[in-house]
Subunit: 245 residues, 2 copies
Amino acid sequence: MNVIRNILYSRSHKDGNFFGAIQSIIGFKPKAISHYNRAFIHRSLNKKDTLGNDLNYERLEFLGDAMLSSIIAAYLYNEVPSGDEGYLTKMRSKVVSRKHLNELGKDLGLITFVETNVPKDHFGQNIHGNLFEALVGAIYLDRGYKYCEKFIQKRVIDPYVDIEQLEGRIISYKSLLIEWCQKKKHKFKYEVYEDTGKDELKHFAVKLWIDQKVIAKARATSKKKAEEKASKRAYYAFQKKMSKE
Amino acid sequence: MNVIRNILYSRSHKDGNFFGAIQSIIGFKPKAISHYNRAFIHRSLNKKDTLGNDLNYERLEFLGDAMLSSIIAAYLYNEVPSGDEGYLTKMRSKVVSRKHLNELGKDLGLITFVETNVPKDHFGQNIHGNLFEALVGAIYLDRGYKYCEKFIQKRVIDPYVDIEQLEGRIISYKSLLIEWCQKKKHKFKYEVYEDTGKDELKHFAVKLWIDQKVIAKARATSKKKAEEKASKRAYYAFQKKMSKE
């Protein structure tokens, strides 16, 4: 167990790559890396700071959750001027749902950085969301609210938050597009192609062909998400056309 | 009913004093007064903006609540390094409790600014807290997160947030002090004196005498609060002494 931990630990913290990996995930340079170190210390290590206080990521979760909630609240407030208080509350709870946060943390591969005495496969799904919240908390302490906003915009809002989808008006752009192609007898194809991006994270790149033309391209952390993103782009490109037919 | 409303309305918005009153409450100049106007429009007026969206303070409540939560979260995180996630959550919910927010809004006299079609004495207690939240939301939109923090620090944290009291370790500094004076046979007296402050809000000033000496002074929006504040100051002054006896 400790062997596994030590291998992972050496891969992340000890060889100096941790700084670079965090920078790549958050999109800017950390000032005080210690905040990010703390964001990946699991309670099982039973670490204490010099004053004897627990040193793990649980307090950072609390902080990150609060920042996330207020940033998403402000985003929704501005984005949906017609939504009343009840609507805004409901939408926010969808964005910051446990399931969604777990997805976010998982896609960023945060678990690879965890220092723990528990084998990582013993953790449930919630560790991903907890680490994501802790990371947001660390960003707040390190760089302040503005940088939290930047990070949330880049990693939560841009790739995931789609008001129409959240409202359940559109469940999947891919199925919407396929349905339309079938109805209109258009040939379509999703093609995974070579991704030359240099991100730390593995990305999938997808081209969407309709009638021998590339209509949209997209990159994401899973093939499914890249397809959905490409479909969404194609959907907006076609929207006028589709609404007329 | 409308007469009352119009009198209050003219006292606040129409004669230009609204700007000054808001400035005095928030402690800095509003940039766009329209945000603050909105923070006092009750839904009973059924106002709409140019796009047909509801124009009242309810959406601002949502926004202000979110800002308040994250600012208090950060404050507690920094202030209580020994508190775990559960502790921090519990403490925050005490600070931002409905009861507490109602007190805050009431002390600032926010209800005097409300534009409404409902007689003001028909409102329950919650209107005070709702207006307080809406005001925080307006500050966020007008001046951003930093100014929200300033306002919360000045109007919530400095005058009201006392970790020891929140934890229930000390319910009232006044009773603590009285008990000690009685036990130690000290004579004490709380004296309300002339308050020369120029605040918009009425303040009470209290001197705490112990054995013919003024030990502490304090000002607050009620006599009870001023006494508590003076007692707290005296308590900290006497703390060493009391712990030895």
